[in-house]
């Protein structure tokens, strides 16, 4: 069963997807569904012996190109819609034990190209209003497969967080004539305390009002809305900044740090979204080496985040463990 149910109290859609209860959960590595299919081995999701990067429709999708009829009838107060859309899995590499932080810059550049490609193709579908590229890394995030991969959800609506950001960007542009993200970046460059690194084309910061202890945002200097609007040099620079951010995370506590990577691109629901500025957000759940940040009463019940750390201090700590830049071709 899968459908969209409208929550009129919060003004947002909830996706029901009961079939996802049966999805593969932390299988032994010999049964990893994201590894290539080896001769004589167990068939996996990827029916080839080798590949570079592959994207495929999720076996347990929340959204489908041909969604089932909703299991319940909606009302005027609580409408129901088919769960139309697409859910893809993007497998970064055939190597089961690799990580994005350990990948070559060439592979990360190619992955960025794949994200851009999928955004353009899925965003062009009539039913798709937003293409969300993301990665959940680590069992504490709820990852069910260890093989390096991310996901893409092509939603038939603009998700709530993106909608709030877009409205904030529109309101700021209407009030000042300027881009909200560009103005925030200028403020951070002037202040410096929350800046992690600045490259020719990208800025990495702990945001002023970070929700998570070691939250980091990356944004391009140039005002673009989608990854495919970046030029080749900007995408190459993103690969460097992204990898250096992940290596900084791994140096923070001495282990491969779990995180959620959330790529915020402009909605694809039509024109009039020019104020929205592309950016990437990272939310590691760790607040210390051994303690996690949970979304508890205030966050889950009231929507008000409480951050146990100061962004100025976490930025300084991250800068302190940041590895040296290893050059453009490493």
């Amino acid at each position: 069963m899968s459908e969209l149910r409208w929550n009129p109290l919060l003004g947002e859609w909830v996706i029901t997807a009961t079939h996802r209860q049966d999805r593969t959960f932390l299988p032994p590595r010999d049964y990893c569904p994201l590894c290539p299919t080896r001769p004589g081995g167990v068939p996996t999701e990827i029916g080839r012996e080798d590949f570079e990067i592959v994207s495929f429709e999720n076996r347990f999708p929340s959204l489908r190109r041909e969604p089932p009829v909703p299991a319940v009838d909606g009302t005027e107060l609580t409408p129901v819609r088919p769960a139309a859309g697409v859910c893809e899995v993007v497998v970064y590499t055939p190597e089961h034990d690799a990580t994005l932080a350990g990948a070559s810059l060439a592979r990360i550049e190619r992955l960025i190209a794949v994200w851009a490609h999928r955004t353009v193709e899925l965003g062009a579908r009539a039913e798709v209003a937003y293409v969300f590229v993301f990665e959940n890394k680590g069992e504490v995030i709820g990852v069910t497969l260890h093989h390096p991969h991310g996901q893409i959800y092509a939603y038939p609506f603009v998700p709530p967080v993106i909608g709030r950001e877009a409205k904030a960007g529109d309101d700021h542009a209407a009030r000042t004539g300027a881009c909200l993200w560009c103005d925030l970046a200028e403020q951070e460059r002037g202040d410096r305390r929350r800046v992690l690194l600045e490259s020719g084309a990208w800025l990495a910061t702990v945001p002023f009002a970070a929700r998570w202890p070691y939250e980091v945002h990356l944004q391009p200097r140039r005002h673009v809305g989608w990854l495919h609007e970046l030029d080749a040099a900007e995408r190459r620079d993103l690969a460097r900044v992204l990898r250096r951010t992940l290596r900084t995370y791994d140096a923070l506590f001495g282990f491969s740090l779990p995180y959620i990577m959330s790529i915020h691109q402009r909605p694809t629901d039509g024109p009039g979204r020019d104020a929205y500025h592309l950016h990437l957000e990272f939310y590691p759940p760790h607040r210390t080496e051994s303690k996690l940040k949970y979304l508890a009463g205030s966050e889950a019940g009231a929507g008000a985040f409480i951050n146990d750390t100061l962004p100025e201090e976490t930025a300084a700590r991250l800068r302190g463990v940041m590895p040296l830049d290893d050059g453009p071709d490493a």
């Binding site: 960025i112 490609h117 965003g123 080749a232 040099a233 995408r235 402009r266 024109p271």
Partner: protein
């Protein structure tokens, strides 16, 4: 902007995207790139490597 790798290929333009349909109706898209100095692959339709100017436009 300084671009020390400007002589290299642009992975978005040089990628080859091969779409394969499964028996169960789902699809895969295999992405590959020419080896350095090797033959360039033309982007394949309908999964084109050439991005339109505006992803918000509906075809």
């Amino acid at each position: 902007m300084t671009d020390p790798g400007a002589e290299r290929d642009d992975p978005l333009r040089s990628m080859r995207a091969e779409r394969v349909e499964r028996d169960d109706g789902r699809y895969l898209v295999y992405f590959s790139w020419p080896a350095p100095g090797g033959e360039r692959h033309a982007p394949s339709d309908p999964v084109s490597g050439d991005a339109p100017a505006d992803a918000g436009e509906k075809g």
